[in-house]
Symmetry: C2
Subunit: 244 residues, 2 copies
């Protein structure tokens, strides 16, 4: 149970950090992701938050536990998953810096959340958050915007999992990882999670993921290292991901 409260040393981070990104609801000048919170809004959130640092592979909370807080990721990667009756594990979503998690159902978390890399997160108690929403409808609107964004991602996930071809599903995952990667546009894609995590996210077996990677490689579309991938033929890569 790590419980490092930080202060002082994190002042530099907090200036930029309890941030949220999404493609907003309304028409925007830029086409893509947008920083949702103003400096002042981040300040207000910081005041309501506790900064926590988790080592890799730490369970932040388990499905079914009482849900007291929501979290915003400062940096790092986590997975949110459910273990099913069959013994299978389905990863609902991978979460990165400026993502939100901990949305509950009737006072209990629905998924288990576990870190993949070391993570810094801002924990905000729900009472504090709802009270803040009362005072600041603008902040509430940004959260709404973020949740709508996450909803679209979840629908996208359902489409991905619905595909029948393993290579296409894998390509869609890679594209998604590329989009949120810090250095967007570069051909290099970091793969912080294991093949097994990828399989659980894609609804494939571990072996199918492995075979699909090798096939993408043999066809000269993507090269794989253990913890990164590199798009070689962008044309065919996009075609593969889009074929749905």
């Amino acid at each position: 149970m790590p419980d490092d409260r930080r202060h002082g040393g994190t002042a530099i981070h907090t200036a930029h950090e309890p941030a949220l990104v999404a493609v907003p609801f309304l028409k925007t000048s830029g086409s893509g992701l947008v920083e949702l919170l103003s400096h002042a809004q981040r300040e207000q959130l910081v005041r309501a938050a506790v900064v926590r640092e988790f080592p890799a592979r730490t369970v932040v909370y388990r499905a079914g536990a009482p849900a007291d807080s929501v979290f915003i990721i400062g940096h790092g990667v986590v997975k949110s998953y459910r273990d099913l009756a069959s013994g299978r594990r389905r990863i609902a979503v991978f979460l990165f810096a400026r993502d939100l998690f901990g949305l509950a159902e009737a006072g209990h978390y629905v998924n288990t959340v576990q870190t993949i890399t070391p993570v810094r997160a801002y924990e905000i108690r729900v009472e504090a958050l709802t009270e803040l929403f009362q005072r600041e409808p603008d902040i509430e609107l940004q959260f709404l915007c973020k949740v709508v964004h996450v909803l679209r991602d979840a629908q996208h996930h359902a489409i991905m999992v619905g595909r029948r071809d393993a290579m296409g599903r894998l390509a869609m995952l890679l594209r998604m990882l590329q989009r949120q990667s810090p250095a967007r546009g570069r051909a290099d894609i970091p793969l912080p999670m294991s093949r097994s995590d990828m399989a659980n996210y894609l609804g494939l077996s571990l072996e199918a993921v492995s075979r699909a990677s090798r096939r993408l490689e043999r066809q000269g579309i993507v090269e794989f290292g253990r913890h990164e991938a590199r798009v070689v033929d962008r044309q065919r890569f996009e075609a593969m991901a889009a074929a749905a």
Copy 2:
């Protein structure tokens, strides 16, 4: 393009109607779905809304169209879907009375929405809604609550589509339809949509849905009519749906 603005005659409806349901995220006394809006809040929404009536099979809006409004369903059933490059259609969600749709991305709708039955819907322009949110953070909170609920449903959908067995997926759909059906708990489940819609929702072929129905029937678990299903052996039905 139906555009019946109603008034007077709909006074009886509007007293109960622009409603929203969800499982809220805070702890609740009752375990299940909750009516989110107070009478006063519904009144405020009505004032911002236009009542529209659509015949069955009407397209409400198409994916990619400029998103000016969100809609709350008064009664009826709609499907929200995307047509993929491959020619396949993936239904993201079926929506019923007291559901919300029209959440956009960067000013454009992401899915096409089409009625299955005749539908009465409350159309609210986004500017009016955001302005209302400014004045009434409580209403905004209820919308947030609803969207979080829809997000959970989408994650559930991804789990369902990820299953490999057609019978199990079908059972999960039936259970979902049963839960939101007006007469909950009854063994009878209305199936307003076609088999083809069910297939598009489940990520199966039409034929697979048909075969799965017949198998559930032969095993004495569910009986099917064209537009309703009836759970015969609830024990095994739940087992089938839960096996994931």
